[in-house]
Symmetry: C2
Subunit: 374 residues, 2 copies
């Protein structure tokens, strides 16, 4: 089976499509829950699949430290290790080396760093990143890049982007081609349109199975992020998936799909599940708030997820106040379901040629606020 | 429907039976997982039921503090609140007032104490305990008692037990009779056979739907616990269930069933799930141990639980090292399954008149130790 992207419907800049991988198909636009350390925190794999998720993201940085890529390979790969038989995308490790590790040293060759867990020394390069992602058995590997910090002046951003482009070529050279497995390049260039264009063209010249847009959602704000997307996406090939890394809030997803993005990942639905914040059609709700203590209604009355079918706001509020594991488990499950329903809604709307209308309705309801108190 | 106990088979002192309650039947001997704060920690109710559990224990002390008995009642009772439609037994609150609360003051009337959560002042008496358990909608309520500390001299133990017997009468008087709901008395008397006999006779004279043996598993050791059971159980009526409170390790359960006990509860399988300790046919195993890091075999190769069917020792070890919620979730699920399988094994063995043989086989395997390292 070939790794491939099929565009099925176009609606404005937005696309409804399908990615075929060694471990199954992915309907796009898609949202990938984050399974950092070979687990989506607090969720069983079946529960993740039940939300509608078709692909997970695993973090190369975390997995290379614990349990180690060679160990995962010896245990049959990441799918078997974590009992997830659908597609997996792994990041390249570059982003988290920058954000989590200690005493980093970057050279043309790669990056040397100390583990945030135990201080042990490690090395990543395009070649080692490709090897790790191969050992993990990721359906989609990401080219090794440097995530340019924000803000960066244009000269710094250009140097950083050009280093990432040289690393992209080395990633492509080191990637082992296998049926059903793909490699994505990552566009950098901060918020500078000329750099983004240069980066996109450089990646196209190398040739990838998909194109990610990196270095966004790092503090630039939604407006600048959308502007950068608008300047970048026209330089990407139409017959390959486009992946906006580390994004985002529901309104980020809607705005980016409208601008032609096909794939997303973000810790927001899972991390928020552990900080009492639920995403609903009516915006975010903090369930630690005492106003929920006597409320027998579900978290989101319009939602069909396990949490909303089986439990009440009062119960969730109680669990959170008691610091019971089940609280984060239930909110995480709802949040992931909400994100997947949002993606399903957008896919259906694109199919019907009405994504603009869907977006308007989404905003109206999202900004309308929670149901009235009882 | 009447609350009742039916003895089906006797095998030595051991009994196979059935309890009928407002929320369903319970096959005895039975083990009740502990759902302290209206949740079995880290488990969904369906998952608890899937292990074979037919009844849960809820803690009156915890629930009266958070979320509050009146609140639970307004939300439809504990079954609806926590989404568990099978029977629930609640303890009387007495034990945890002694072990958890601050600044306790015990009088003939009852006990005044400060919450361990926020220092707020509360009062429990036989009458208030009955009211709380009624509001929670417990299928089985427990008489309010004082759990005599261990060790206590005979005079202290006698005074404490006689206070509990007066409270037992007040509990009975305050208990609201409803079809399918029962009230159990609690035998006290520490390790003194004459006091245990006196207590059992006093409770029988009052008349309860079942008889619990309290004040054990508080440091006296297994041998003295078994001796006390042997001196107590002959004084209990044969046509009512017998419940050994807060017990215990697998070998405690086997020894107590052999001596005629029908019901147990203990935090051990759930608490151990959060401290990396798994119960298996071959004894307890600590899954933080590095020897499991590369082991692809299930936690217990002879077990059919979710955890053993779906995951490896290596994966569980990894989750625990990373402090991932899923580690405790998976071990807890296995442990509860193990406890229920042990009870099923004992019920079947009693049915076949071979519990002594079952017990011998249990000990031989349990003490044989873990499977050899690979």
């Amino acid at each position: 089976m070939k790794f491939e992207y099929q565009k099925l419907v176009q609606d404005g800049a937005a696309r409804r499509g399908k990615i075929t991988t060694a471990h199954g198909e992915i309907d796009t636009p898609t949202f990938m829950p984050v399974g950092t350390a070979a687990t989506v925190k607090g969720m069983l794999p079946e529960q993740v699949a039940e939300t509608g998720a078709q692909i997970l993201l695993g973090n190369t940085y975390h997995l290379m430290l614990r349990p180690g890529a060679e160990r995962v390979a010896a245990l049959g790969g990441l799918h078997q290790f974590m009992n997830w038989d659908k597609p997996i995308l792994t990041d390249s490790g570059g982003f988290q080396v920058m954000s989590l590790s200690k005493l980093r040293k970057i050279t043309e060759e790669g990056v040397t760093f100390q583990s945030h867990v135990d201080g042990s020394r490690h090395h990543l390069s395009p070649e080692r990143s490709m090897e790790i992602q191969y050992l993990l058995d990721a359906d989609i590997s990401m080219a090794f890049d440097e995530c340019t910090p924000f803000p960066s002046d244009e000269k710094t951003a250009a140097e950083s982007m050009r280093l990432s482009m040289r690393w992209a070529q080395r990633s492509k050279d080191a990637f082992k081609q296998r049926d059903g497995y793909g490699l994505f390049g990552i566009v950098q260039g901060s918020i500078y349109p000329e750099l983004r264009a240069e980066s996109a063209e450089a990646l196209k010249a190398i040739g990838f199975d998909g194109y990610a847009i990196g270095g966004l959602a790092v503090g630039e704000g939604q407006e600048l992020m959308f502007q950068t997307l608008e300047k970048t996406i026209p330089h990407l090939p139409g017959d390959r998936p486009r992946y906006l890394m580390g994004v985002g809030k529901p309104s980020d997803l809607v705005g980016a799909v409208l601008r032609g993005v096909d794939m997303f990942d973000c810790v927001l639905p899972t991390r928020s599940g552990r900080t009492a914040q639920a995403f609903t059609r009516r915006g975010t709700i903090n369930f630690m708030n005492a106003r929920h203590a006597d409320d027998p209604r579900p978290l989101d009355p319009d939602c069909t997820c396990y949490t909303c079918r089986k439990t009440s706001r009062a119960y969730i509020n109680h669990l959170l106040k008691c610091d019971e594991m089940l609280g984060p488990m239930l909110i995480t499950r709802h949040n992931l379901h909400y994100y997947q329903e949002l993606m399903t809604g957008m896919r259906d709307a694109i199919g019907a040629g009405r994504l603009e209308l869907f977006a308007a309705e989404f905003h109206a309801q999202y900004e309308g606020g929670d149901i009235p108190e009882i």
